[in-house]
């Protein structure tokens, strides 16, 4: 699994945020656009693209984009 492709998939869930501003060490919940719908979208993206289930508690317990990436790697 390519880290850059994951980053692209993650950033694609946002509509207003500059994709270039989302990096692996970004604290994604601090982004202005972050919402419960984007959280659901990240979960759905993980399922659709990587066949990995992540829960809202996983997201709650994660801080950076890399935390989500590691979760998906662990479970795929």
């Amino acid at each position: 699994m390519e880290d850059n492709k994951f980053l692209e998939n993650f950033a694609f869930q946002f509509d207003e945020t500059d994709p270039g501003s989302i990096l692996l060490d970004t604290h994604f919940k601090k982004l202005d656009e972050w919402s419960s719908l984007i959280a659901l979208s990240v979960m759905a993206m993980a399922d659709e693209q990587y066949r990995v289930k992540i829960t809202a508690d996983d997201i709650k317990n994660s801080t950076t984009v890399n935390d989500i990436l590691l979760l998906i790697k662990e479970r795929s």
């Binding site: 919402s35 419960s36 719908l37 659901l40 759905a44 809202a56 508690d57």
Partner: protein
């Protein structure tokens, strides 16, 4: 006044949660219950909990037309049916697929329509009988992520009105209940897909707190009894005041 003693009541999704509670309450008050569900072991457990005699259970997949046909062939007549089986789904619009729509609508809408159709066509519902459909408050809200689920329940609420109209000549009544969040194994599982903390915080949006299976069962009991004989085609919101705020 609220008696349903001797009435034969069919309940789908009866192996846990709201369905199980309705079965317990109906049996406790002298009703004779037929339980439908997928999990034979859990249905047997619920059947064992029921007071009184004459109850039975059938394990089947409601989305399987052949199994449904076999059930209708061997079933007797009913004075009331509670269409409770259903599943929850949280999918943002961007991630909707044909497969997801089919999976949710097959159980939440199509199987309900086809079971009721076969019961009616084969004259398995007695005159003055009562059909109760369990919809959801989601059908009237706009909660992000519930597009497929809420649409399937809105379809069910609409269906209730039409079947109520078509069956009125036989004095068979049809009503639906639109509950807010009720604490059941299914909603607890769904809350794991969401956040436990978020689930607890959202209860603040319910002036009377989240509901219990007993709360829904109580209204079902009323709709199954003859006390509600003038009520048909209604969609009853039961949400602890959620839509007030």
């Amino acid at each position: 006044m609220f008696g349903i003693a001797g009435k034969k009541i069919l309940i789908t999704g009866a192996s846990s949660g709201i369905g199980r509670q309705i079965a317990i309450d109906v049996a406790k008050n002298g009703g004779i219950v037929s339980l439908l569900g997928r999990d034979k072991g859990r249905l047997a457990e619920v059947a064992n909990e029921l007071e009184g005699v004459g109850h039975n259970y059938f394990s089947l997949d409601l989305t399987n037309s052949q199994q449904l046909g076999q059930f209708i062939e061997q079933s007797g007549n009913f004075d009331g049916v509670v269409f409770n089986a259903g599943i929850i789904d949280y999918t943002p619009v961007k991630f909707i697929t044909e497969e997801k729509i089919d999976a949710i609508f097959d159980i939440n809408y199509k199987s309900v329509v086809l079971l009721s159709q076969r019961l009616i066509k084969n004259k398995r519902v007695n005159k003055s009988g009562s059909l109760v459909f369990i919809s959801s408050i989601s059908s009237k809200l706009g909660v992000p992520g519930t597009a497929i689920y809420a649409s399937s329940k809105a379809a069910l609420s609409s269906y209730t009105k039409i079947i109520a109209s078509e069956l009125s000549a036989q004095k068979i009544r049809a009503n639906c209940i639109s509950p807010g969040i009720v604490i059941t194994p299914m909603t607890q599982q769904a809350s794991n897909a969401g956040s436990d903390e978020g689930f607890k915080n959202a209860e603040k949006l319910y002036p009377l707190g989240y509901g219990t299976p007993e709360d829904v069962s109580g209204l079902c009991f009323y709709l199954l009894s003859d006390v509600s004989r003038w009520m048909t085609g209604s969609d009853l919101v039961l949400d602890g005041g959620h839509t007030l705020i």
